[in-house]
Subunit: 268 residues, 2 copies
Amino acid sequence: MYVFTYKKSDIMSENHVIHTMLNHKSVRKYKNEPPTQEEIEQIVRAGQQAPFVSQLYSVLLSRNREKHPFKAPLMFTICVDIQKMEKIMDKKGWKMVTNDLSLLLFGIQDAAYMAQNMVTAGESMGIGSVFLGRAIYIAESIKKEYQLPDRVFPLVQLAMGYPDEDEPPRPRYPLDFVLFENKYPELTDDLIDKAVSMMDEGYLQQDYYRKLNAKIKLSGDKEDRFTYDDYSWTEHISRKWGQWYDSIETPLKQLETCGFHIVTDEED
Amino acid sequence: MYVFTYKKSDIMSENHVIHTMLNHKSVRKYKNEPPTQEEIEQIVRAGQQAPFVSQLYSVLLSRNREKHPFKAPLMFTICVDIQKMEKIMDKKGWKMVTNDLSLLLFGIQDAAYMAQNMVTAGESMGIGSVFLGRAIYIAESIKKEYQLPDRVFPLVQLAMGYPDEDEPPRPRYPLDFVLFENKYPELTDDLIDKAVSMMDEGYLQQDYYRKLNAKIKLSGDKEDRFTYDDYSWTEHISRKWGQWYDSIETPLKQLETCGFHIVTDEED
């Protein structure tokens, strides 16, 4: 059995930044006490300083914990924001000419870099968080709730607060399944099996899915032969991407609702 | 004139993580000495531990500094990688059913979160970097160079090495142009003017564009009335997004080349 451990040189790092990152875990149980206004501003400021300086994002904040997943004290919604850039350009007599797909490819990066800094900044102050990927599917309702103008697209939500649990960092692929020098290698059975083992044995060791009661049901009348003794990451992720049939119309419609058109080039 | 400074509470932070993030700056001049193999692995491992665990990315590495922008000792190309997930699912008898637009929206986040951790991890060890946004436009040539299989899309490149310059952190929007509580506000002239001033005065103070000789030329026969005494961020960014006419066909074609189809839903 592959035992999931960090090399001592990783986890014992005296570099506080590396240590904070290697120690990352999503938090799903929060204390009542909310982070202070100063902490919130510190976290967002650290996010802002991330690279890529078109600054094509905005951050929405809600402190209405009763409405948040896991009753997290804070909920940030990180949006791709093209409106602000267009307003600034308008003031200077310019008009945006770049197509919406390119803008999204850059804007999502801008927003994601800032979001990741917010996660790490929070953890450095003892404040935990979890990303919620649902935003792109509920963009229309987020738009209504926060009264978003056109050209602002909610990319991801980040629930945040002081952790009321102490979970270990989660497994990741082995380095040689991620980092490739000079040439993308053939993914041999050996490489894949090693990655699968590292993920599956790692999650089983932590009893992750049983604790969360997070098994994804099999659709139709397929018999489920997995119990929480052998249900692990690759089974979970396969059921997710292998059953979550989501037509391209779904994200396209949410993008359209927010004023982004990536199907036809209206400028032609 | 708006003077661009950090609040003392920001920059003097004793929190090494926050300090590292607020002190971030892109590096365009590198020492010859390359980071060690151990440092490289530490940086990528810190990147891997970023949230979102579909791990839909791969990282390509080149150490051929003669071929890199700014002759940086290292060049990472961070890719959205759906192939690995599909190979794992295939081994377990599953088939991907989600559409490529949804996969990209999640995969870009996966890749970007890891990329941003790599930037911060590097800086914590004194290793600087700069993102190169060109990857999505030269995906086809990157695919050839690294012999990428289908379903792998180069999102962004990250040049890295020990800095041979010491530039200050760059200006960012004021916090009240970025963080909105409960409701997206009307962007009044006041709010926009304040953001424009903060960016423009900040970059002028640093003499940024003159030092880089980075003025973007006006297309056609427009007269350029700006000198490096008044050419700053909002003028630069307006010229970029206001002149860089890039048809949606350009990024669509690069995505197609890499095996991503976001125009029609082929599964319907």
